[in-house]
Structures are given as structure tokens and as C-alpha cells.
């Protein structure tokens, strides 16, 4: 069944029980979120919001690692809540792939990096022989500006964060997915390498027509690459729309505060913002 939506979230909510030892309260990590990605038009869809606003939870639900407590998530028209068999799960994974936050964490330091690439090639592309796997891995690596020769037999500590993150992207690309979910892919990467990842996403969208859900709390990079953005706060989407529009001219007061809290890399303006803040504190 072909659907007009690649991904469609309808009123998705997620609750977690919390204690407080003596309470049985539950907290709403994601609250009634709806949005959709078109299947014919690849885009970089950005989710921003402060820490704890439910971004990662949302990402996990899209990836099928967590079940939604309420609402439905459809991928290519099929409810991903219905995926139960191993095969269905595998098929799903060929279409949706993640990129994780911390590249050093995402690769087991005791496992060779290429193993991940080969495993993916083997499992999702049916590559039998070693040569086939290497070829597939290399093809993917080339796309992110690396080659199998640079990666073969290496461990994560032998590579820089930016390289690792690009390898992670390359690995995610091997099954030729339609959607990549990248949860804060640059927050742990050095400033000097950050841009290489962000730029890569742009290229992927344009060259490979992959949609990317880019999750970040960094409004500046969101502004830099996003097509569309939703701003989350305490699980609720407070504002959404075309990225530049929303960020240039935030409507919701939270979005506004968020935007204003950003310190620009410019001593004069930054210290001015800080002084303003200080005054607020004094008075408040």
C-alpha cells in the first residue's frame, strides 16, 4: 500500500510512571503530538526543544523502540505499533534508521567499527560474502566522504567524533532507508567538526532523497539546515512550521524566550544579553 505520507503521527502521547517513592504519578513525556512527512518530497524535519521536552522519546517511538501509549504512528501507511514479527521488524529497519547522539557511545569501544557496517550489509542487504559486504560499506562510506580503507579494522577511539558520526550515518545509509532519525547528532561532536555532519545531512537530502528527522536543542544549526521545525516543551508541540519563518519570527512565547536565550557568538551582543538577564534577576 502506497501512502502519501512517509511518516504520519496522529495524537501521539507517551507516559512514564514516576516516583517519588510515595506517589504513583505519571508524567507525560510526549503529549498529543501530530505531524506528517510527505513521501514524495524529502525534507529535513527538525524537532527542537530544551532538555527533557520529549524529543528523544518521540524519536524512540518513531524508531519503534518504544510503543506509543496513545495515538498512532504510521510509516508508509502501516501502523508501526503492529510490527511484531521479526521479519516485519527487519523490513521496517531497512526503511528507518537511526543516528545516535554520542558517536563514542554508539560504537562499542571493544568492537571494531567495520563490524557494524558488515552486519548491516549482511542483514539488510543480504550481502553474503565478505567482499560484497565491504563493497556495500565502501559505497556508503564514499557518500560521507570516507572509504572502507580508512575504517577497516579500527576501533572507535582511533577515529574522531566527526568521523565516527559520519560512519554512523554511512552505516544507516546502507539499507537505503527512506528516513533517518538523528537524535542530537552533533551535540557531542566538537565545534570544529560539527558543521561537517550538518552539511552532510543537507547533501543526503538533496542527493539521496532521504528524509531526515533532525533532533536538536541547538536553534542555530536548526536554522542552518532545517526545512520544517517543531518546537517542543514538556512534551507539547508549541509551535511548528517552516523553519526559517518560525525561528526568525517566533509566535509562541516559549519559542520566543528560547530564541532570546541563545547567546550569539559575539562578545558585545552576548554580554549585553547577559547584562539584561542579570537585571531581570535583580528585579525579579
Amino acid at each position: 500500500m502506497k501512502s502519501e505520507h512517509l511518516l504520519q503521527l496522529e495524537n501521539v502521547s507517551k507516559f512514564f510512571p514516576i516516583g517519588g517513592f510515595f506517589s504513583r504519578a505519571r508524567m507525560t513525556a510526549v503529549d498529543d503530538v501530530s505531524f506528517a512527512l510527505a513521501s514524495d518530497r524529502p525534507e529535513i524535519f527538525t524537532i527542537v526543544g530544551e532538555s527533557g521536552s520529549g524529543k528523544s522519546t518521540l524519536a524512540k517511538m518513531i524508531l519503534g523502540s518504544e510503543a506509543a501509549d496513545r495515538g498512532t504512528i504510521r510509516f508508509d501507511g502501516a501502523d508501526i505499533g503492529d510490527i511484531s514479527s521479526r521479519n516485519a521488524r527487519e523490513a521496517f529497519m531497512t526503511k528507518v534508521q537511526p543516528v545516535f547522539q554520542n558517536p563514542f557511545e554508539a560504537f562499542n569501544p571493544l568492537t571494531r567499527i567495520d563490524e557494524y557496517l558488515y552486519a548491516t550489509a549482511h542483514r539488510f542487504k543480504g550481502a553474503k560474502s565478505r567482499a560484497e559486504r565491504e563493497a556495500l560499506a565502501d559505497m556508503s562510506l564514499q557518500r560521507v566522504g570516507l572509504s572502507i580503507a580508512e575504517v577497516r579494522g579500527r576501533y572507535s577511539h582511533e577515529l574522531s567524533g566527526g568521523q565516527l558520526q559520519r560512519i554512523a550515518v554511512a552505516r544507516a545509509l546502507i539499507p537505503e532507508p527512506k528516513l533517518i532519525v538523528a537524535d542530537e547528532p552533533v551535540s557531542m561532536v566538537d565545534a570544529s567538526l560539527r558543521m561537517s555532519i550538518v552539511n552532510l545531512f543537507r547533501e543526503l537530502r538533496d542527493a539521496l532523497k532521504v528524509s531526515i528527522i533532525y533532533i536538536t536543542h541547538d536553534l542555530a544549526t536548526a536554522y542552518y539546515i532545517a526545512d520544517r521545525v517543531i518546537i517542543m516543551r514538556k512534551g507539547v508541540v508549541v509551535e511548528s512550521g517552516e523553519a526559517r519563518k518560525v525561528l526568525d519570527n517566533p509566535q509562541h512565547e516559549y519559542s520566543f524566550a528560547l530564541k532570546n536565550a541563545i547567546l550569539p557568538p559575539d562578545p558585545k551582543r552576548a554580554s549585553a544579553i547577559l547584562c539584561a538577564r542579570q537585571r531581570d534577576r535583580m528585579s525579579g
Binding site: 527487519e90 529497519m93 545516535f100 562499542n108 552486519a119 542483514r123
Partner: protein, 285 residues
């Protein structure tokens, strides 16, 4: 492998010392294969001789040479302990890793069973079983039973590590990379629990050997087979301690202590060697 050994020997005093102690034990065990006497034979030498040039560790009141007896006893006791340790480690590993990896309800159920078994008082149950099975209770059977009783605590430890590994990003990454569960458990998670496995192996060995001795003393074991417990049993049956035949008890004990000190030092240093943190540091991470 050879290089690892060489590194350990050269750069780790504990390992060196532990190796020496264990070599003493191994030497004794190996030499027991060349014993001039059948290990179960009695009255082959003059009884009750104190340690001397001829009988290094003296002789027993049963006319056995303590030296050759210790070799054979250590071999049998250690074999028992090792079998217990290996079987129980395997169970603990499988249960701990799987339970921790799967998590959720399955984990709760597995741990429920785990705790239930753990709450059974070992000694009473074991004594009962030994007693009930008496004839069928060969030492290998006993090893299996002991192994079945001795893993629950350790599987819990392993599980707690596995549980935290499950949360780590590399596990999720491995899943999305299409690695099989067995692969994840064995290749990704196992190295992280190895230090625990090594450490608990030590404790398990001590426990198993203690068990062997306890059962022997209570008269629940095969008296034909020379073991450390068996030696003590026979020493008791001859009132060796009050009769002044101290060497009959002292030397076996000395070697048990040597065995454990050696094992402990080896475990410590090997642990440091295989500890992922130290491994990473060596790899230059």
C-alpha cells in the same frame, strides 16, 4: 595468547606471584600422576611418620604418604570445584545476560525464579539431596547439584551490568545494525561482565571446595576417593589432631590456602587485564 601471558608475567607482580603459587599446586597435581603408590591404597608406608627427608609431609595413620595424597586430593577437589564453577558460571551468564538484555516483564519473571532459588537455604537442601540420592550421588552428580545451587547471586550481579548495558547507545545501535541477539550478548556484552565472572568464579571455587569439605566431614561423601575433605575425614576418624599427627591436617590446609591465594592473585591481575577500561587504556582510547 603467548604475548598476553608474557606481558602479564613481566609487568604484573601479582600475576607472577599467583602463577608461582599455582605452579606449585599444578606441580603437585601433575606429580600425583607419577605417584609410586596407588592413590587409594592404604598401609603402603609406615604410618604416623612425622615430616622427614624420606616423607616430606609425613605419613598418615592409614599408612599413606601425605605428599602423594595431597597431590591426588588437590586434583580431585580442584576438579570438583572447577566443574561446579564452570557450570554455575555458564548458567549465571546465560540467565544474567538474557534477563538483563530482554528486560521488562521477562526480566521480572526470570529474576523472580532466580530469587526463589537463591532463597533456598543451600546447606539443608544440599544435605537433603545428597542424602536422598545417596547411591546415585557420584561426585560428578554432586558437582552438578552444587552448581545448580550456586549461581543465583552471581546472575543477579551480571544482570545488573547487562541491564545498564542495555540502556547504552551501542546496544541500540547494534540492534539497528542488524546484529543478532546472540551476537550482541556474546560479542558486545560479555566482555563487560567478564571481570564479574572472574571474580565470582573465585568465590564460587572457595564455596565449592568448602562444600566438599563440609560434606566429607558430615560423612556424606565417597571415602574411597582422595579429596581434601576426604583427607580431613580420615584424619578425624583417626583423631589425628589430638593424637599429634598434625601434618595430616596442616599440609592439606596449607596447600588449600596456597591454591586460593594463587587463584586470587591470578584472578585479580587477569581481571585488570581483561577489564574493558584497562583494555581500552591499552588500546589507547
Amino acid at each position: 595468547m603467548f604475548k598476553i601471558l608474557r606481558d602479564l608475567l613481566r609487568y604484573n607482580k601479582e600475576f607472577l606471584f599467583g602463577t608461582i603459587l599455582i605452579l606449585i599446586i599444578v606441580g603437585l597435581i601433575v606429580s600425583s600422576f607419577f605417584s609410586p603408590y596407588d592413590e587409594t591404597a592404604i598401609y603402603v608406608v609406615i604410618p604416623d611418620m612425622p615430616p622427614s627427608a624420606e616423607f616430606w609431609f609425613g605419613t598418615t595413620s592409614r599408612g599413606q604418604d601425605v605428599f602423594w595424597q595431597i597431590g591426588a586430593s588437590l586434583r580431585n577437589t580442584l576438579l570438583f570445584g572447577i566443574i561446579v564453577a564452570i557450570i554455575s558460571r555458564l548458567i549465571a551468564l546465560v540467565v544474567g545476560l538474557v534477563s538483563g538484555y530482554i528486560g521488562g516483564r521477562t526480566d521480572q519473571i526470570i529474576m523472580g525464579v532466580n530469587d526463589t532459588l537463591g532463597a533456598l537455604p543451600n546447606i539443608p537442601i544440599l544435605l537433603l539431596l545428597v542424602f536422598v540420592l545417596r547411591d546415585q550421588m557420584t561426585w560428578s552428580m554432586l558437582a552438578v547439584v552444587a552448581a545448580l545451587l550456586g549461581w543465583t547471586h552471581d546472575s543477579r550481579l551480571i544482570r545488573s551490568v547487562a541491564l545498564s548495558l542495555r540502556q547504552r547507545e551501542f546496544t541500540r545501535h547494534a540492534v539497528f545494525s542488524g546484529m543478532r541477539t546472540s551476537q550482541i550478548l556474546i560479542r558486545e556484552h560479555l566482555p563487560y561482565v567478564m571481570p564479574i565472572v572472574f571474580f565470582t568464579t573465585m568465590n564460587n571455587l572457595i564455596w565449592a571446595i568448602g562444600l566438599e569439605v563440609t560434606l566429607s566431614i558430615l560423612g556424606f561423601s565417597d571415602i574411597n576417593r582422595p579429596t581434601i575433605g576426604g583427607m580431613i575425614y580420615w584424619a578425624n576418624a583417626h583423631s589425628a589432631m589430638v593424637a599429634g599427627i598434625w601434618w595430616w591436617v596442616a599440609f592439606p590446609m596449607l596447600f588449600v590456602v596456597i591454591l586460593f591465594l594463587g587463584l586470587f592473585m591470578l584472578a585479580m591481575s587477569v581481571n585488570e587485564y581483561i577489564d574493558p577500561r584497562s583494555r581500552l587504556a591499552r588500546m589507547g582510547a
